[in-house]
Assembly symmetry: C2
Homo-oligomer: 295 residues x 2
């Protein structure tokens, strides 16, 4: 295509950069004082309820609110994997999602824990997330380097809100060399939570998946990936020491600084199969290179 972006027919869910609700044209001035008009991403509150309880207000671009709510609650350990969800009601006008379950959830227990922390855009109950890891066993399996290169190339060229308006994070659920579900959000953890919500809704297993993200490989990102049962997490960005430590503890393959032919693997390298010659990987084009998405 003339625009240098690929078709998205391989995706189950791809970004919709033309969706009117997700960006807004804003007028300003540029460095010469001339009028400038650019597209900027929306950022709006979404309050998540679990049965009768108000849980959190997340700042989000606003797409897939039901998946965001489900995935957030699941990744916080507030919904067990076997919980029967009877309804997920989104009300656009009052910016709320209510998740209803058949029986009481573990939420009341969680409330007792005071320690909480967060990544981008939503608070988290960190102690619980770490606890949840105790039961996680990530499956063995191979990750071919040719898949990693194919995924990065394809994802970077997929039309996205990032390419249109910037200031947004992307996370992509992949299988082998194929990107399946590509979510974006102003909060990086919202993008991963939306994927978790989709997986929960569609009863999709993480066992044969690879998670690709534009954000950093922090402890929270590694924990969420492991809780989703996904054995491989890859990113354009760098690592934190604790992220690496947790990945090693749970046996997750952690790949960072993926740019052009280069990457570094700091945990779970036993899954890697070097079937691609890095010298044959084309460098990233400036048009698709991410320039400080920021956080």
């Amino acid at each position: 295509m003339a625009t240098g972006t690929e078709d998205v027919t391989g995706y189950i869910i791809a970004p919709d950069p033309q969706a009117a609700r997700l960006t807004r044209a804003v007028e300003g001035v540029d460095q010469t004082g001339a009028p400038a008009r650019i597209a900027v991403v929306e950022e709006r509150p979404l309050t998540i309820f679990l049965n009768g309880h108000e849980i959190v207000t997340a700042m989000t671009i606003g797409d897939y609110p039901e998946y965001l709510a489900l995935g957030f609650l699941r990744n916080q350990g507030m919904l067990r994997e076997d919980e029967t969800i009877i309804a997920v009601d989104y009300d656009e006008e009052i910016e709320t999602v209510v998740v209803r379950t058949a029986s009481q959830t573990t939420y009341e227990e969680k409330l007792k824990k005071k320690t909480r922390t967060s990544g981008c855009a939503v608070g988290t109950v960190f102690g619980d997330m770490m606890e949840g890891l105790a039961g996680v066993t990530l499956p063995a399996g191979e990750v071919r380097t040719s898949w990693l290169y194919a995924l990065a190339h394809r994802i970077n060229r997929t039309p996205s809100l990032y390419l249109r308006a910037g200031a947004i994070h992307g996370t992509v659920l992949c299988r082998r060399d194929r990107p399946l579900v590509y979510m974006e959000d102003v909060g990086r953890h919202n993008a991963v939570d939306k994927i978790a919500g989709w997986m929960l809704s569609e009863r999709v297993s993480g066992a044969d998946k690879i998670l690709y993200t534009t954000g950093r490989l922090t402890s929270e990102m590694v924990i969420k990936t492991a809780l989703m049962g996904i054995p491989v997490l890859a990113s354009r960005s760098g690592f934190t020491a604790w992220g690496v430590e947790i990945a090693r503890q749970v046996g997750l393959t952690l790949i960072g600084r993926m740019r052009g032919q280069r990457f570094i693997c700091l945990a779970g390298a036993e899954r890697l199969v070097w079937d691609a010659d890095p010298d044959l990987v084309p460098p990233e084009s400036p048009r698709h290179r991410r320039k400080g998405a920021g956080g």
Copy 2:
């Protein structure tokens, strides 16, 4: 200097990329399967107490814990500007900071509000932050484009944890063309909170300052800057629509996408004085260009 970085004598506080406690060497493999050893940033919990109350556990690199605690509480509206702080006690071993005030704080009130949200690494009481804005009036004044170019050039070339290990956000308090206090953290909001804590401790006014950040110009970033009394916020990264809206409401000058000679101003352009010829601004060198710090 041969390394292409500048001396940091102009700073009151500059990053300390060689500090042993802030990064760790980690071994892994690279894209060819060869052993690789890289420096990665630390990420550790810090639990903040206000008098007898446990408030939050933030994930931080761990420098300036006292400033982080003070700035976090101040930016959350839990400490009034005139509050008498009698002690700030940091205990490295148990990773806590306790801030003690002479009288009861507004915290009990805040607890009643359930709505909360967060940016990177710490939860926030959003409703309160918005409320706090009602009393904010940002002073008029000029921002010369020559200052913006000088700041970006200088900050990008300052030795930093980012240049050493990546995966970290930076925020810099500046006056005219001079960077004064350069904080970095794994959570972007921690970096800005550490600056707020320093300003509170040193009784420094925001009125004649410019805040420069590597992160995105979200609603939370704009609100914090306004609460600190700083009339100008500039970033390498992009905007969210709500960030722009709030900046316009409070009369804050909001400049984004600052790279090389380019930038866009989407709010408060009346403060700008175009005294530099953009064509004379050198492009960013690849060594100092930020490559997707991520969030």
